[in-house]
């Protein structure tokens, strides 16, 4: 039975989603406990899988008992296991934190909300764990469809931005499918490792180059990389609280993982970085993404919209870091995936807590927030310092690897962009702090009682736990890199998969 642990990661949330739907119609109170137990079980099995991978090396799980090129197989190495743990942690923290806001936001359809929540987590976990190229498309669709529904349920503007997100997401996923079609017509197989072994033997390189460009453009669209990011700010800023804080930390990071997996496992590093000559273009695109994203974030006057543009900047960091081509750049990108997911989760949970207490999002309504919601704002401060990159928090270490990778690869414009955007981040967050701390809480609203209107306790504890996790990740960043990310990146580069 112990060799079946990887299957529990996907099967338990899927079965839980079905049970929640069936039970939800009978008794509403059953939905939340089943969902939390399923996510906790999935979280535990991801940790067991991580321990097994670090002890015995990669796990190959043959689905339905067939060998890789004929059946679908999972190939779990350090990178997979790390991202699986990240997803399970974000999902678990978010479901506990947003229990009261979800019940308040969706009173009559809470059961279906938790079904979509679990299906989104199953889809995202399936994307990370699968070793089959077409299976990745199917799971991408599950994650996207449940994402469109969860994001579409907000205010009047939410359904327009969600439909816009649906169009761009479908074009991205179909371009990825088209790219795998080119790959299939060239190699005849769908398993990642099998394609990787066939590709060097082929002679018409131009077909493989076109397939790589198609897959990449599709993934850039799903990842909201700079020129194709227009759907993200609207989709995340008008979304309801609980779904925004689930989807914002995960979708773009998992798409980045897919880009790393496709570029390094299928196309092997020497083809992806040297023969494709894409490096300079993508790094320059990342530089433009970072600069323009930061400037656009400065122009916003609403909190969630500013955070959405910061996500576009972070995607620019990670994509640029990966396309630097050297090991430190890729290590920085992978570490930044982990750190950025936790930072975005913390920021969106604070935005959700603020929105639940004073249902206004614009900056001018945030006066005196430090006095009214002290604990939420301290968590906001920790996340802000982490995004800026102040040493004790984890954001500093991943930026450090990205900076040294940029210098090592000779892309000084990338390092310059990193430093400039960190400065702009400082301005962004201290503007919020200045409004919420220094501006006096104008007491013309006498009717509002002056005391502390802190967010409810069951939202506050996970929020403070996430802020604490940011600092703990900062302390253990070095051991995280040496124990997990170094072997993952070296195995990707040497292609020993």
């Amino acid at each position: 039975m112990s060799s079946q642990i990887p299957a529990f990661i996907i099967v338990v949330p899927l079965l839980a989603a079905l049970v929640v739907n069936i039970a939800g119609w009978a008794r509403r109170s059953l939905c939340f406990p089943t969902a939390v137990c399923a996510l906790a079980a999935a979280w535990i099995s991801t940790i067991i899988v991580m321990l097994r991978v670090s002890r015995e090396g990669d796990i190959i799980y043959r689905m339905a008992g067939w060998d890789p090129p004929w059946g679908i197989s999972w190939h779990i190495d350090h990178l997979n296991a790390l991202i699986l743990i990240l997803i399970a942690t974000v999902a678990l923290i978010n479901i506990v934190a947003t229990r009261s806001t979800a019940a308040q936001e969706f009173p009559d359809r809470l059961g279906i909300f938790y079904c979509l929540y679990l299906l989104f987590v199953t889809g995202v976990m399936g994307i990370v764990i699968t070793g089959d190229v077409f299976n990745l498309y199917v799971l991408l669709e599950i994650a996207s469809l449940s994402g469109y529904a969860l994001l579409g349920m907000g205010g009047s503007r939410a359904s327009v931005s969600s439909l816009n997100y649906l169009f761009m997401g479908t074009i991205g996923a179909s371009l990825y499918l088209f790219g795998t079609g080119y790959l299939y017509i060239a190699t005849g197989s769908l398993n990642m490792v099998d394609i990787a072994s066939i590709l060097p033997t082929l002679e018409n390189i131009s077909l493989i180059k076109v397939s790589f460009v198609l897959c990449l453009v599709g993934l850039f669209m799903k990842m909201a990389f700079f020129p194709l990011h227009t759907w993200l700010p609207n989709a995340y800023s008008h979304a309801p609280g609980p779904s925004a804080s689930l989807i914002a930390p995960l979708t773009t990071k998992v798409m980045l993982y897919v880009m790393i997996r496709v570029a390094l496992t299928i196309y092997q590093p020497d083809f992806a970085f040297s023969q494709m000559a894409l490096q300079d273009i993508v790094v320059w695109l990342a530089v433009i993404a970072i600069i323009s994203g930061s400037i656009l974030a400065w122009k916003q006057d609403r909190l969630k919209r500013m955070l959405a543009y910061i996500i576009v900047v972070e995607v620019g960091y990670m994509a640029g870091g990966f396309w630097l081509g050297n090991q430190t750049g890729v290590t920085g990108a992978v570490l930044h995936i982990v750190n950025d997911a936790m930072m975005t989760l913390c920021l969106f949970l604070t935005a959700g807590a603020i929105a639940s207490r004073i249902n206004a999002d614009a900056f001018k309504h945030l006066q005196g927030l430090f006095r009214r919601m002290p604990f939420t704002m301290t968590a906001f401060m920790v996340a802000a310092l982490s995004i800026i990159g102040v040493p004790p928090t984890c954001g500093f270490f991943s930026k450090w690897y990205l900076l040294s990778g940029g210098i090592e690869a000779g892309h000084y414009e990338f390092t310059a962009a990193l430093i400039i955007s960190s400065l702009i981040n400082v301005l962004l967050f201290f503007r919020v702090v200045e409004i919420s701390y220094y501006e006096p809480f104008d007491n013309h609203q006498e009717n509002e009682q002056q005391g502390i209107q802190e967010a409810s306790l069951d939202m506050l504890l996970p929020l403070l736990a996430t802020a604490g996790l940011l600092i703990v990740l900062g302390f253990y960043a070095h051991s995280l890199v040496t124990w997990i990310i170094e072997p993952a990146v070296s195995s990707l580069f040497t292609g020993s998969l």
């Binding site: 199917v138 669709e141 469109y148 169009f167 179909s174 079609g181 299939y184 017509i185 769908l190």
Partner: protein, 133 residues
Amino acid sequence: MEELTTLVMAKYNYWGVVILLGIGLYAMIAKNNLVKKIIGMNIFQTAIILFYISISTKYGASIPIIHHGHGHTIHPADYMNPLPHVLMLTAIVVSVATLGVALALAVRIYNHHDTLEEDEVLSQLTTDESTQA
């Protein structure tokens, strides 16, 4: 001339796929009505399904159902490649699922804004925002 016909004979299916992709993409970008955009999205997805199916065809091969029982040796050249058919069963169901969600969103937008035209919806939203701020 004869060399051109063999080229056309060998590739016209893939050109049809590319033309349909162009139609779908054009409809999604340039059309103003939301339902027209959804039709364009569906044409885009069925074009990619046509691409996969045209990979699987073989001249002189029959449908992928083995008609004689056990014992006979089965030559792969007699039957078409079943793998793209399986993949495309999934892609068709995915396209219907996406269509369902897109139409649900379109109906929801109509409930809020009483119009399906993209420009009218955006103008209403900007007026709402200006009154709200």
